[in-house]
């Protein structure tokens, strides 16, 4: 960025005017999102400095969800958290405030709030290192549906600003736990295996039947999620360090057991990303729009390809089940 941007409003203007130039491919778009979010962070920190001075200790700000996985759509809601070194009152107060500032900053610039409140403004996702460790232990031991959800969300964490190791150490805790309790992988599997069907018995698309997206396919729930969830499970099982779906696939492909299988799925996932990117050129009015693909606008070959992608998502799930349940035997 060449110009100096020091307010959320001007950042939003810049984002809105620039974003069209970055729709060539998904990686390009996500680099752009990273740049914008880093700028939000810098403005937020400047504001904090004016009000409360310098940060009292080292910390890291990390992204989760689609941003963590480096696969955001043109509009994505925010998912992020903070980890800071010291657990004293001063640090707590400072970083809670910073978390709130970043969250409202992101909102002002065009990133909608997360419905599940996975944001630095929420104390659950903004903690000192020691508290994070305690929380991680609690989540692992609890094994409830919610705590497993949280673990899986956290596992996509990618540090955008600050200390890498805070996040990687916490991920290591998850890896260690799975090492001692292999059955835990099955619990993780159960939490993510439900997928919205997209192809019916007659090989017809199962589109939305009511509402504003009638006639469209839910690309997020029917297309992306099986891939994202299955690859994440493999990463957990094999202790992969990457947080993005594509880099996870690359990393896992080095293991002979996965090489052949994942080759196909990598290509599928890239195609899914490009379908969504194509969607961006049209309707991007609100967050929901980017996930729906109107099948009327697809040609015959595209329809065939898309059905194939959904079927492969299903196949990947079966493959994942066999790998994870196989481990148990």
């Amino acid at each position: 960025m060449s110009m100096v941007i020091n307010s959320y409003d001007s950042l939003k203007n810049w984002r809105d005017s620039e974003i069209d130039k970055h729709l060539t491919d998904s990686a390009e778009l996500n680099h752009f999102h990273d740049t914008v979010m880093k700028n939000v962070y810098e403005i937020a920190l400047e504001r904090m400095k004016v009000q409360c001075g310098e940060p009292p200790c080292l910390f890291s700000w990390f992204l989760m969800g689609s941003a963590g996985r480096f696969e955001q759509a043109i509009i994505s809601d925010q998912d992020h958290g903070l980890i800071y070194e010291q657990s004293d009152e001063k640090s707590n107060e400072y970083f809670q405030k910073l978390g709130k500032e970043i969250t409202s900053g992101l909102y002002a610039v065009g990133y909608p709030y997360c419905d599940g409140h996975v944001m630095s403004s929420n104390p659950v996702w903004c903690k000192s290192k020691r508290e994070w460790e305690a929380q991680m232990t609690k989540w692992l031991k609890e094994e409830s549906f919610e705590s497993i959800r949280f673990l899986l969300i956290f596992y996509d964490a990618r540090v955008l600003v600050g200390e890498e190791k805070y996040v990687s150490e916490l991920k290591q805790k998850i890896h260690d736990y799975i090492e001692t309790k292999p059955y835990f992988m099955e619990r993780l599997l159960e939490n993510t295996i439900h997928v919205k069907k997209a192809v019916g018995v007659f090989q017809q698309f199962l589109t939305e039947t009511h509402g504003a997206h009638t006639g469209s396919i839910d690309l997020k729930h029917s297309g992306f999620l099986p891939f994202v969830n299955c690859i994440r499970l493999f990463a957990l099982k094999e202790k992969a360090a990457s947080s993005t779906t594509l880099s996870r696939i690359d990393e896992l492909s080095n293991l002979p057991a996965y090489t052949a299988e994942l080759d196909v799925y990598r290509a599928d996932f890239e195609k899914l990303l490009s379908y969504r990117l194509k969607q961006h050129q049209k309707s991007t009015e609100d967050y929901d729009d980017v996930h729906y693909l109107d099948i009327k606008e697809l040609d015959k070959a595209e329809k065939k390809e898309l059905k194939n992608l959904f079927k492969n998502g299903k196949k990947l799930q079966e493959y994942t089940k066999s790998i994870i349940k196989g481990k148990m035997q």
Binding site: K197, G200, L206, T209, H210, G211, A212, T214
Partner: protein, 432 residues
């Protein structure tokens, strides 16, 4: 022996009447469950009131128009303000028969009101219940059951797929067209929103109550118990309902990827509506086929009405209209030589296309008549009464409060109301 049979037949008719009146309970649950909480008390309560209205009007003029003696091809003309007088030569109590027929008229009216749901003014219910029960239903019932021109023509409609269900549905269609869709049903871009009913358990229970009541409706329509034939009619009725539910499950699963509860419930009802015309004229396997086809038909019919931008809140048009048409036509295919007490056997029993043609004409004429007359009545009402529909504001706050001043579910809504009350009190205290 003759006296015993007279008594038994009369008991059977009153039992049938009771079961058919119980179907109003089924409709109360079905309609309330399929609509929103804010209208629940209204939807449930108005059914009791409109049945009362139908009873009085039927007594005053309806029965006379249908079954009156000095009648002609178009309408009967005696027995107004029926006194309970026993008709000569009848082997059951005429009063019991009257009550049974009255219950049918009530059902047809309730079906017609399906098209009014969640937006019509209470006064529209009052006026239309009089006019429908006095004019629309009696004329069609006379044509087919009262010795009118379609009876002479040989039209088969044993218990009223056309007379009761199609007539009701045609009026419902007229109403829903004139009333226009509920607020929020259709989007500007042409897509359809689901306005979810508030209690699927009520809806399912309503369907079951209707299913049981239908034994009175169909089996009761034998009027007599003499040879136990009513048992066969009841059997066919049950088979069709079951087949309808199964077909609906299968078709929704195949097309939508999920078996849809609303479709399953509609399927059972569609099976019942369809078999109503033919339950005494067809073999058991045919009853299964008729019910099964109805279950599939109702699924596509609902889709069609959505596409046509016709808002049918409780699926009256599809369940009673589409299935009613199919049920009446099915006689023309499946009626057997042995069973066809009226008319001729169907296409699959060597009767050729004759009966199918009779059925088709009956459906077309009755459907059209009921629609046109109902439309005319409602159109005039709309002009005279300054609209059939509540205001936008009233529709949004719900008919429970706008039409009746109290909620079907007070706890769900009152808190806010009470808060407002308190606020008002506070303000007036400050003002003083």
């Amino acid at each position: 022996m003759k006296e015993i049979m007279f008594s038994l037949n009369s008991v059977w008719l009153v039992l049938g009447a009771v079961l058919v009146i119980l179907m109003q309970g089924g409709f109360i649950l079905l309609e309330a469950g399929s609509t929103r909480m804010k209208n629940a008390g209204h939807i449930a309560g108005k059914t009791v009131f409109t049945f009362g209205m139908a009873s009085i009007v039927f007594w005053a003029v309806g029965y006379g128009f249908i079954f009156g003696n000095s009648g002609n091809f178009f309408v009967g003309l005696s027995d107004f303000f029926y006194s309970g007088k026993q008709a000569e030569g009848m082997n059951y109590s005429t009063s019991a028969y009257f009550l049974f027929q009255l219950a049918f008229a009530g059902i047809s009216l309730t079906i017609a009101f399906g098209g009014f749901a969640e937006r019509a003014k209470l006064t529209a219910y009052v006026v239309f219940s009089i006019l429908f029960s006095a004019i629309v239903y009696p004329i069609i019932a006379h044509w087919i059951w009262g010795g009118g021109w379609l009876a002479e023509h040989g039209k088969q409609d044993f218990a009223g797929s056309t007379v009761v269900h199609l007539t009701g549905a045609a009026a419902s269609l007229a109403a829903t067209i004139l009333l226009k869709p509920r607020i929020g049903k259709f989007n500007k871009n042409g897509t359809v929103n689901n306005i979810y009913g508030h209690n699927q358990v009520f809806t399912a229970l309503g369907v079951l109550v209707l299913w049981v009541g239908w034994f009175g409706f169909n089996a009761g329509s034998t009027f007599v118990v003499d040879d136990g034939f009513f048992g066969f009619v009841a059997l066919n009725t049950n088979l069709a309902a079951g087949a309808g539910a199964i077909a609906a499950l299968i078709i929704s699963w195949m097309v939508l990827g999920k078996s849809d509860i609303t479709t399953i419930l509609n399927g059972a009802l569609a099976g019942l509506v369809a078999i109503t015309a033919s339950c005494a004229f067809v073999e058991t396997w045919a009853a299964v086929v008729i019910g099964f086809v109805a279950g599939i038909l109702v699924f596509y019919s609902v889709k069609l009405f959505d596409k046509l931008k016709i808002d049918d809140p409780i699926f009256a048009l599809s369940v009673h209209g589409a299935a009613g048409i199919w049920g009446t036509l099915s006689n023309g295919l499946f009626a057997t030589k042995e069973l066809a007490a009226v008319g001729k056997p169907g296409l699959f029993y060597g009767g050729g296309f004759h009966q199918l043609g009779v059925q088709a004409m009956g459906v077309a004429v009755c459907g059209l008549f009921a629609f046109v007359v109902s439309f005319a009545i409602l159109y005039v009402m709309k002009k005279v009464m300054n609209g059939l529909r509540v205001t936008e504001e009233e529709e949004i706050i719900g008919l429970d409060v706008s039409e009746h001043g109290s909620y079907g579910y007070p706890e769900a809504f009152m808190k806010e109301e009470q808060r407002k009350e308190e606020q008002k009190e506070e303000q007036s205290r400050l003002a003083n």
